[in-house]
Amino acid sequence: MKHGRRSPAVWQNASLDKPVGAYGRMPLLKIMDQVFVIAERIVIYSVLISALYALVALGFTMIFGVGRVLNLAHGAFLMVGAYTAWFAQQYLHWNLYSAFALAVVVCTLLGIVLYHGLVRHVQRSPIVTLIATLACALLIEELIKIFFTTNTQLLAPFVSGSVEIHKTTVITNRIIAFGASWLAILLFWLFVHRARWGKVILATAQDQEGAALVGIDVKKVYTLTWAISGALAGIAGFFFASWVKLDPFMWRDPLIISFAIVVVGGLGSLKGSIVAAYLIGFLEVLMTYSPSVRVCAADFRCFEFLGSSWVGVSSLLVLIAILFIKPEGLFGRTE
């Protein structure tokens, strides 16, 4: 069977002024074909972007799992990573690899500085921690507005061009982002489950006092988790900068995404975060490509029902639904 994608002739055949029976089952097959093409695209795109989402959520959930701190500055870490790489590439004329390394290093340091300079002192009160980290995020937003203006920028991709996967065109850089994200996630996974310090982190997450009793320096563990979280955010930020965009408000979306993922997956659960990242990512991509219906009132005021303007809404609604049905998340632990 020939696959003439989006062939206008086929759609003409399917038009209603001719008897459908005269053309046999062809139009139906063609429509099914179109549906498959779109479904394939949705699956591939959501698999790709979800890896990045998982990476973003991982650092956020780790800090909560170990230290019981919700770091609202996590999105801002990402933004700092993105802008560092962009600055190094644009103004210092570094190549992308060293810009990437610099972004990761800067974010790691930022994590440590934020923990020691601020969070350590207010950690005991969750509310103050939330407000303080949020204020930090807003401070960083202001700094970026001051130094880099509010203009939207884009970081150059590692590799330009695109490849065909079956019938879907995918930008090569996104595949690299996907690979890098999964590499980072796997490395992190190995570190936590195999390395000595990783096990120390797990132990602290399970029981802080118990960990302290067997001689683990809890402060040091916290510092380590903030550093790792910063590094993960740096990697994610670098790829966000070439995938989405760079602007002083870019920290909000990743933060909301991490929220959604972490709440759906269960606060502090790594496995849950990855599963939830794929769920949220799939929903978002699905909404982007779903057909929209334009609903109009008698006075010609209209709104779109479904479609790309509902991207954020769907995942937020799923999030609220899950919170009400299963408040501890899909893989959360009950406390």
Partner: protein, 351 residues
């Protein structure tokens, strides 16, 4: 002096000062303080739920939005008068609060905060999707003003010998309207917070299980706090729409003001109501003060440069100050003052 009397005295003093300085304020500061009063109402509304029961809501602006958009759109499209839009808006906010409170009771701690943070975000998306009606991020003008011409004309006749021009009169009208609102809400909430109900709410914050064990229906009190809080905040929202004469996205749904409510309450002292009122003034007044300072003419040659430099840093300085305040005055202003007061009294008794 009992706690209730002390709080009423402090509230009374604040309200009297706010009312007395009104006529002496320059126009710009009058607007600032008018919005500070509105904001104090929001902060107190937040405090009665989150400050007292310890369920930290990050999205109280959601109730402002529900009420404000209901009132504004009813007025814009169905031409409902103010006396109908405001009660409808407030009841919608209360309804939203009740609807939300029933499932929210299952959530604790960070989960509750996260859900409340999500509500205004989802609402913002909806407002943008329905932009043909709501005006989206730009807002929609044409809402009936709170201080209508007929009212002003009557007043102008009375006040004509005081030589107050009509713009100033309009400002006075709005200022004292919010002053009355703030006073009424303040008195009501201080009374509520020091009553038996307030004590139960505070007990819920300290130990929910213990309250339950004492045979008190915790859920009932939490739902009640939700309804009161939503109605207070909603009342402010609906009235602000009529003062602004427009539904503004930035004043009805900005996440920043949602956070600033918490900040105001934390700075003033959580769960104290009067502290939240002070915090509201400090936050809004502080913002304006920084903006003013940023516009000062510097006696340096490169005036323009320095000017724009300061203006750009104004918001940064505000957030930095906020961090410093959070760092050093964590318990809040009112508890701090009361601690000092008690200490001195103790010294006197001992001496």
């Amino acid at each position: 002096m009992s706690l209730r009397t002390l709080k009423f005295v402090l509230l009374g003093l604040t309200v009297i000062v706010a009312g007395a300085v009104g006529p002496f304020l320059p126009s710009k500061w009058m607007t600032t303080l008018m919005y500070a009063q509105l904001f104090a109402v929001y902060a107190m509304g937040w405090d009665i739920l989150s400050g007292m029961t310890g369920q930290i809501s990050f999205g109280h602006i959601f109730f402002v939005a529900v009420s404000g958009y209901t009132a504004g759109l009813l007025n814009l499209y169905l031409k409902w008068p103010i006396w109908a839009t405001v009660p409808t808006g407030v009841s919608m906010a209360v309804l939203a609060g009740l609807l939300f409170s029933v499932p929210a009771l299952r959530l604790r701690g960070p989960y509750f905060s996260l859900v409340t943070l999500i509500l205004p975000l989802a609402a913002a998306r909806l407002v943008i999707i329905l932009a043909d009606w709501t005006g989206g991020e730009l807002g929609k003008f044409g809402v009936t003003p709170l201080c209508q011409d007929s009212l002003l004309n009557t007043l102008e006749g009375l006040l004509s010998r005081l030589h107050i021009d009509s713009f100033r009169l309009y400002q006075y009208c709005n200022y004292y309207f919010f002053w009355v609102l703030m006073t009424a809400v303040g008195v009501g909430l201080v009374w509520l917070s020091t009553s038996r109900i307030g004590k139960i709410l505070e007990a819920i914050r300290e130990n929910e299980e213990a309250v339950e064990a004492a045979g008190i229906n915790v859920a009932k009190y939490k739902i009640f706090a939700f309804a009161v809080s939503a109605s207070v905040v909603g009342l402010g929202g609906a009235l602000s729409v009529h003062t602004n004469e427009a539904v503004f996205f930035n004043s009805l749904l900005s996440l920043t003001s949602s956070i600033e409510m918490i900040v105001a309450s934390v700075i003033g002292g959580m769960g104290t109501i009067v502290g939240a009122l002070w915090g509201g003034f400090l936050v809004r007044g502080g913002e304006q003060l920084i903006r003013e300072i940023a516009q000062w003419k510097l006696p340096i040659g490169a005036e323009g440069l320095a000017l724009s430099f300061l203006e750009r840093w104004a918001t940064f300085i505000f957030f930095a100050l906020l961090l410093v305040l959070l760092f050093f005055a964590r318990q809040g202003l009112l508890p701090l003052l009361m601690g000092l007061f008690r200490q001195r009294r103790g010294e006197i008794r001992r001496g």
